[in-house]
């Protein structure tokens, strides 16, 4: 079979370029310019999938985004993707598609037994049947249902394609390049506005490509080409095809995805597959057109049943006949356009018009062409399982609720037209409450909530003349108010046929004794009977009916089913559609790949990586990294076969015995300047700051207003009105915002400026008994003696020609210094320390050793300052001034913060001196107590004490002050451990603090 349904001439495809592709393993030929759908139809392929619930054979129904059935698993360039709409994907060489939701094949599908059991599969079937026993849901029912009802299969391979994001700003975004879009974009562009015109299809023009009209004596297609080529020449206009605007968000933030690569057989190297556009538009013009409504009848889901406009589009755009013996089933004049097109291509259609002896230009034209027309007729049921073979039709009685007579006629396809539904999804997403327009039986946009206008068919305007007039005018008015230019445009003359009124007929009645399945929603397999069941069971709100029956859900978003569903509910409830209301339209309008949404933010591009100036040195010296926010920090430096435990022990021991050096660049640094700086610090920190002399550092704790410790660190007075604050790595950004808030909002009268200098300074901490000897060699001109540079002292020096700041501060509890140089010299400083420190046995140490050192000293860090502790809890109450006020002080007076048995930090050692205590363990009195076992506290930090050579932990313990010496159990249900521990002081090493002052 080779393209038996392809017309010899006509269409916009390129017959000189055949394209080979595969469907369900079999090879076919199509042409350049085809979609996968049109190429399959050219080859006479109609059976393309099985329905979601009943596994009924399904075929193509639409020709674009309206298509509910043709979801396929598609492979292009080795990339396999499920749920691709065959009517939207362009044919490329090597494309391979397969049907979904069928096993073993689309022709013989075992699941189709569901169809014969369909009386057991009513609406809400899953909710009713698989309720019991509860444990069966995850193990048995859900996997089974997923397999039976699954759509495609997501690839397990890593996506090799490239996706990109782009930001754009414009005066006007026009969505859709039909007559409304072209006219409004053109008028706005002429006024000098920055315009983006987006078209979801590869070809511009919308209905102008398929409607038999002329504009200024040009065919619709030629006129649209003329306008597009003019727009493309204008520097203020971006014209994009293959681009679907799928989301309308706040303040006219529009999101669009562009298919940049899928249609190319060979994609240029740096061309992404798809691109996501964030467009902030001053005004949005929605020219999204309309979608034809089906008429519901028996077995209306049989392959071979099409929307009539889709059948016309397949002929006019792709030169493809969807059938050679079609029935046109219509309630309005549109069906006649399709009939005339068939006739022109040598096919004899028969038109069933539900109206009585209607007269119109189009009907006359059809009659002149000898097209057979039956008025007051409807299709009752389609026959044929995998393809339409015949249909029972009938003459409607006067009330159109029954048939006067019926007959069966042969046919190979049925084209339905139930009039037009404006595509109002984006307008609805913008917040526009829709209103029901009785004359077209559909919802149209009402008052705008954002800067948007709907134009043309999207607004319920179905004549070309009015569409062009309104669109030129709106485009010009809206742009005029932005650009202040007013270029007059002559509205072109049009030639179009006049439509007569449509019939409100939307669903064929069932003849007595017949029980045909009549589908409303093809994608979700929702039939008239399902909705009736839901209503019988008491569901009233349309939102509930939607969820119970799945009507209008999923990727389809009710594009063809919405209004018929509402109509049915209204009929049963004896209401009218506007009383029933409509469900909410949600973005995305059409499915968007996850890859496009993610864009480049994947893998190491997921978030920025911050590296210190010494990063490459660490790398060369076998650093094993740990993430600290966005920073990479060495966790330890691996020597030989060492593991984390061995390496960190070695590094920590070396600090206690000799001297170590640690990269502390990541600490937050804030420069504080101004005459009121001291007063400001005095309000920010809990301790006193007014009398700190120049050249001295002080440790400080800051609280939130609720009394909880926010951060700690040292601040040094560099000169009279100049301070250098350090924060923890994790809280650096929060502390800066906090300071800015108080300076700008609470105390604007303080003359102080703050700025982050974290990136400007590289920092190295040298710690250990030999650190002074090392410092003396690094700064031979400075007196570094304990008298000249005491604990918490500060001095500036010259490090082999590089200006350096030297702080005598310590986190490790050892004699220690921190040296800062400008970041560009960070590596130089580091290498000097390593080189000169050799004779003192200097070793670099990572965050693991750093933690060990601070834990055995009882210094608190993030795990203790966890957003739940006040100064007392972490034994910092000595730093809380009783005399002055500061941020959060009033909260410390609260009753709960002054309870005698309040939690407090303690130290823990396992009784066996061997078992390390997992962080997060709960502290309990009796490990065998009945659950829930009363929890007394938790283990916050654990290490292997290098000083005492046994495990040691810090914990926050209820009434910790009075618990010293007690024995408790540290239980971790997560690690399944239960360790008996002894409670002791949190200062395990040097609790008098002699070393830092030595």
């Amino acid at each position: 079979m080779s393209q038996n349904f392809r017309l010899n001439t006509g269409g916009l495809i390129n017959r000189d370029k055949p394209i080979e592709f595969k469907f369900n393993g079999k090879k076919y030929i199509g042409y350049e310019g085809d979609t996968l759908a049109s190429a399959l139809l050219a080859n006479g392929i109609h059976l393309i999938g099985r329905s979601f619930k009943y596994h009924r054979p399904r075929g193509f129904f639409g020709a674009g985004v309206d298509e509910p059935n043709a979801k396929m698993q598609v492979e292009i360039n080795g990339c396999s993707e499920p749920n691709i709409n065959a009517t939207e994907i362009e044919l490329v060489n090597g494309l391979s598609a397969s049907s979904q939701n069928c096993w073993p094949s689309v022709n013989f599908d075992i699941g189709a037994i569901n169809n014969f059991l369909n009386r057991f599969f009513p609406a809400g079937f899953y909710y009713k049947t698989f309720m019991w026993p509860k444990s069966f849901w995850y193990r048995v029912y859900e996997p089974f249902i997923r397999k039976a009802a699954g759509l495609g299969i997501a690839s397990l391979e890593k996506d090799k394609e490239r996706y990109e994001h782009k930001y754009e700003y414009c005066d006007l975004l026009v969505t859709g390049s039909g007559p409304a879009g072209l006219a409004s974009a053109y008028a706005a562009a002429k006024n000098g506005a920055k315009v983006i015109l987006a078209e979801d299809k590869p070809r511009y023009g919308g209905t102008l490509l398929t409607d038999d009209v002329t504009i200024d004596n040009l065919s619709g297609k030629d006129w649209s080409e003329k306008i597009i080529s003019e727009l493309k020449e204008m520097p203020n206009v971006i014209v994009k095809n293959r681009s679907q605007v799928f989301g309308y968000y706040d303040h006219n933030m529009m999101v669009m995805f562009e298919r940049t690569g899928d249609h190319l057989e060979k994609k240029p190297k740096y061309t992404p597959r798809q691109r996501l556009w964030y467009i902030r538009a001053k005004e949005v013009l929605l020219s999204t057109g309309s979608i034809e409504r089906p008429i519901v009848f028996g077995n209306n889901d049989t392959p071979g049943v099409f929307l009539s406009a889709a059948a016309k589009e397949y002929m006019k755009v792709y030169g493809v006949l969807i059938g050679k013996k079609p029935i046109i089933f219509t309630n309005n004049d549109s069906g006649y356009e399709t009939a005339i097109e068939f006739k022109k291509n040598g096919v004899n259609p028969i038109v069933l018009d539900t109206r009585e002896d209607q007269k119109s230009e189009l009907i006359n034209e059809a009659k002149d062409l000898d097209i057979k027309i039956k008025f007051s007729y409807a299709v009752i049921v389609a026959h044929g399982y995998k393809k339409v073979k015949s249909a029972t039709i009938g003459k409607l009685d006067k009330d159109k609720i029954d048939f006067e007579n019926t007959e069966q006629i042969d046919c190979d396809s049925i084209c339905v037209s139930g009039f037009w539904t404006p595509t109002v999804h984006l307008a609805s997403q913008s917040g526009n409450k829709l209103k029901f327009n009785d004359s077209i039986d559909a919802f149209v946009p009402d008052k705008s909530k954002q800067n948007e206008h709907s134009l043309g068919a999207a607004n319920g305007t179905f004549t070309l003349q009015d569409t062009l007039k309104n669109s030129f005018n709106t485009g010009s008015e809206v742009s005029k108010s932005i650009t202040k230019k007013d270029e007059k445009i002559q509205i072109p003359n049009t030639n179009e046929r006049k439509y007569s009124t449509h019939d409100k007929f939307w669903c064929s009645p069932l003849p007595k004794g017949k029980n045909y399945k009549r589908f409303v929603d093809f994608q979700n397999d929702v039939a008239v009977s399902d909705i009736e069941v839901a209503l019988r069971e008491g569901y009233r709100s349309i939102e509930h009916v939607k969820r119970y029956t799945t009507l209008g859900m999923a990727t389809d978003q009710g594009r063809t089913s919405n209004l018929n569903g509402l109509q049915l509910v209204a009929n049963v409830e004896k209401k009218i559609v506007p009383q029933v209301g409509h469900t909410t339209f949600r973005p995305p309008f059409t499915p968007v790949t996850i890859g496009t949404i993610v864009g480049r933010e994947i893998g190491k591009e997921y978030m920025p990586t911050r590296k210190t100036p010494m990063h490459h040195w660490h790398e060369k010296n076998n650093a094993v990294w740990v993430d600290a926010g966005a920073w990479k920090r060495p966790r330890y430096y691996k020597r030989g076969n060492e593991n984390l435990f061995e390496a960190s022990k070695r590094e920590a021991k070396n600090v206690r015995d000799h001297v170590g050096v640690c990269d502390v660049t990541t600490l937050g640094k804030i420069d504080i300047k101004g005459p009121d700086a001291a007063e400001f610090l005095n309000r920010v920190y809990t301790n006193a700051w007014l009398k700190l002399p120049v050249g001295k550092a002080r440790y400080g704790v800051m609280l939130r207003e609720d009394g909880i410790v926010m951060d700690d660190g040292t601040t040094t007075r560099i000169s009279e009105n100049h301070y250098h604050m350090t924060t923890t790595t994790a809280q650096a950004a929060n502390v800066l915002s906090h300071l800015e808030y108080y300076l700008q909002i609470v105390w604007p009268e303080l003359n102080v400026n703050v700025v982050s200098t974290t990136e400007q300074w590289a920092g190295a901490a040298i710690a250990g008994p030999k650190s002074r000897d090392l410092l003396a060699k690094l700064f031979p001109k400075i007196d570094v003696s304990n008298e000249a540079l005491p604990f918490m002292g500060y001095v500036e020096g010259d490090l082999f020609g590089v200006k350096a700041r030297i702080f005598r501060i310590s986190f490790s509890g050892e004699l220690a210094y921190e040296i800062n140089v400008e970041s560009d010299f960070g590596l130089f400083m580091w290498e000097k320390i390593i080189e000169i420190g050799k004779e003192f046995n200097v070793q670099p140490y990572g965050t693991e050793a750093l933690s060990t050192l601070r834990i055995e000293m009882g210094h608190v860090a993030g795990p203790e300052l966890d957003g739940r502790t006040i100064p007392y809890d972490v034994s910092l109450e000595g730093l809380v001034s009783k005399k002055k006020d500061f941020i959060g002080k009033r909260s410390l007076a609260k009753e709960a913060f002054n309870k005698v048995d309040r939690q407090k930090i303690v130290g823990l050692v396992p009784l066996d001196r061997k078992s390390s205590i997992p962080e997060g363990s709960h502290l309990v009195e009796n490990k065998n107590a009945k659950l829930p076992n009363p929890k007394l506290g938790h283990v916050s930090s654990s290490c292997w004490s290098v000083e005492n050579n046994n495990p040691f932990s810090l914990a926050i313990l209820k009434d910790g002050k009075n618990m010293i010496g007690k024995k408790l159990f540290a239980v971790s249900p997560l690690k399944n451990t239960s360790i008996e521990v002894e409670v002791m002081s949190s200062h395990y090493v040097d609790h008098e603090g002699k070393r830092v002052r030595s």
């Binding site: 933030m253 309000r683 207003e705 800066l736 915002s737 800015e740 808030y741 700008q744 609470v746 909260s891």
Partner: protein, 86 residues
């Protein structure tokens, strides 16, 4: 995503800002005698109004200034943005 006009920098995307909560709260003065209830109101209690609301925003990825925004909490319409002293 909102479009916010920073009074110092002009129109910017919401991505550049951090939300700062109710903009009408005044912190009690330092050293002020204040009841537990008043203090708790200041620290914890915030209104969640439907409609117009004055709130604080911080231009963290820009000029780092805090400023005030008058916004409708239901429609997200922004009526004005202004410097804290205005």
């Amino acid at each position: 995503m909102l479009n916010i006009k920073c009074p110092y920098c002009g129109d910017r995307s919401q991505k550049e800002f951090a939300y700062g909560g109710d903009g009408t709260i005044t912190r009690p003065k330092l050293n002020q005698e204040i009841s537990d209830e008043e203090w708790d109101n200041f620290v914890y209690l915030r209104k969640s109004p439907r409609g117009k609301h004055i709130e604080l925003w911080h231009h963290i990825a820009g000029c780092r200034q805090w400023f005030k925004v008058e916004r409708d909490t239901t429609t997200h319409e922004i009526f004005r943005t202004f410097k804290p002293e205005e």
